[in-house]
């Protein structure tokens, strides 16, 4: 009984992690149709921000939750100005350029901080279910995933900025004709997506080591999740995370973490064969 409870908790926390690491990518891809291959490195920068700030004596929660989104959001603004802006509408070129950015960020961070694993230990301690210890931080991640999803939904649904963003996403020309500057909307959206990725990096820093190449561990999963989700970015990401996170964690339990990821990939590829536009290309189309 307690074993089942622990497995269920692990599955939920796997789903939550997937939601957290995919959300920034989903915003950028869903709103702007820009595939940001440097997403993993944005996570990595968030992680480094958290670890370095904590190491300098900053309060842990500020280091994990406040500084990473701010720093990576600023990086996002710079990247949008210098690189992404030149390549709008050239989807493949954007992909290649952000891949270059990803390599450059890995190289740059390796030069600055070396190739060793750093990290912060998970705060909040643990509690006991039967014979098992469960980390409270896992529960905190689940809460964070819910809060972030609700926040993204609320911003898009109820704020004027969200309205402009959704309008520009649906029809950039019409939005432009009505006096909205699509350029500015894109810039803000990209920065917001980058900030979300940075926050994700801060959130996962305590559960995964922080290394220059940590992004590569998450990027594949994040991409597959967003693409399996399909056009409706929030609903798609949540449903795909739910499905793939369950597959990933269940197979990890039954076999090894590597086979968990292999199972995730195979399920996703077969699913895309059946639903080429992703889950929300067929179901829940009108959702956000």
């Amino acid at each position: 009984m307690d074993y089942a409870a622990v497995v269920a908790l692990q599955i939920l926390s796997g789903v939550a992690t997937l939601v957290i690491v995919s959300l920034g990518l989903a915003v950028v891809f869903g709103m702007m149709r820009v595939i940001n291959l440097a997403h993993g490195e944005f996570l990595m920068l968030g992680g480094y921000t958290a670890v370095l700030a904590y190491g300098r004596g900053v309060n842990l929660w500020i280091a994990l939750l406040i500084l990473p989104p701010v720093v990576v959001g600023i990086v996002g603004v710079v990247v949008e100005r210098l690189l992404i802006r030149r390549l709008y509408g050239r989807m493949v070129d954007t992909m290649l350029a952000t891949w270059g950015l990803s390599l450059a960020l890995i190289g740059g961070v390796t030069m600055l901080f070396g190739n060793s694993v750093t990290g912060v230990s998970a705060p909040l301690g643990s509690f006991i279910i039967g014979r098992f210890h469960v980390s409270v931080y896992d529960l905190f991640l689940m809460l964070a995933a819910v809060v972030l999803s609700v926040a993204v939904w609320a911003v898009l649904k109820f704020t004027p900025a969200g309205l402009l963003a959704r309008g520009t996403m649906q029809n950039a020309e019409m939005a432009s004709a009505l006096g909205v500057a699509p350029d500015r909307v894109y810039a803000v959206t990209f920065a917001a997506g980058a900030a979300l990725s940075g926050l994700a990096g801060g959130l996962i820093a305590p559960i995964s080591g922080v290394v220059p190449t940590m992004g590569t561990a998450y990027i594949a999963k994040a991409f597959i999740t967003v693409i399996t989700g399909g056009a409706a970015m929030l609903t798609g990401t949540l449903t795909a995370s739910g499905l793939l996170g369950t597959v990933l964690t269940s197979f990890t339990f039954l076999t090894t973490p590597v086979f968990g990821e292999v199972a995730l990939l195979i399920v996703a590829i077969v699913l895309l064969r059946l639903l080429p536009r992703g889950i929300t290309g067929r179901f829940l189309r009108r959702a956000l």
Binding site: R90, D93, A97, L103, A104, I106, T216, F223, V258, L272
Partner: protein, 332 residues
Amino acid sequence: MAPGARTGLEIGAAVIVAAVAAVYLPQVLELFSLINATVWVSMAVLALSLGLVWGFGGILCFGQTAFFGLGGYTYAVASINFGDTTWAVPLALLMPTLLAAALGYLMFYGRISDVYMGVITLTTTLILFKFASSTAGDEWNIGEAPLGGFNGIPATPPLNFPLAPDQQLVPEQIFAVAVLCLVACYAIAKLVLRTRFGRVCVAIKENELRAELLGYDVRLHKLVMFALAGMMAGLAGVLFANCVFVSPTMFSLSYAGQVIIWVLVGGIGTLVGPVIGCVLVQMLTTYAGTLSWIDPNLLLGLVFMAAVVAVPKGLLPTASGLLARLTGRAQL
């Protein structure tokens, strides 16, 4: 000039250049440089395979290294088990072809758009990278061959003469074989593009919908093209395994990225371009490795971004365009 004659001339020129290289270079290069040159030639085969599938098939494959690595691993495992490389090589060509066909079936028959295709192929190679890295320990032996986890298989045997396991090729001969393979792949690609099948592939790349409405089976053509390029990448893996050894690095993100850089720098839509791009970027990488003040990844990333923004068509088309303008002739 008739197109057929031109293809013949180009293949002839490639054969002559290759013959000179295969005979002359082993005499002047030291052993270390010669082995390095063999690595570059194997990489050039990989670049050529991506240049074919991306530039002429219009298939954006970010994970060409999946087939490269699988070819290398199959070769290593099979030749250790057989004690002879004669049958290991065809097997090492077959496995990547099958993987490419299976992956291609899921992607093309699912009508997945090119961007998603890039992500799926990239993910495939990353998963193989993780899988190969986690195979340390005795439970991961295939027959007599230990997969060796992150260290790979250092004891990858070199090629031997067909059916003569005792007569292993020396590095000079392996270099010649590699150059021969490069030229053969180039000639095969050129000839395939001259056939009806190749022309339909190019037509699909130019306008998929129109080709489909004209009655061509887009999915099947793409599948065959993808499998052919997968086989070439597998051959590149065999050559690479012969001069270095197989390890999970063959599947890694940095290799997968480099192949794209080579093709992009050299020029999409040409076959010589990727080979030139490969050699130039390799020279740059080797040079960057000797610099202590800059990380090679950083330099590569910057070159990559600059190439996308500044010369999106690649060096060879840009250069031939410039040349044509300078000499006042119509573009080739």
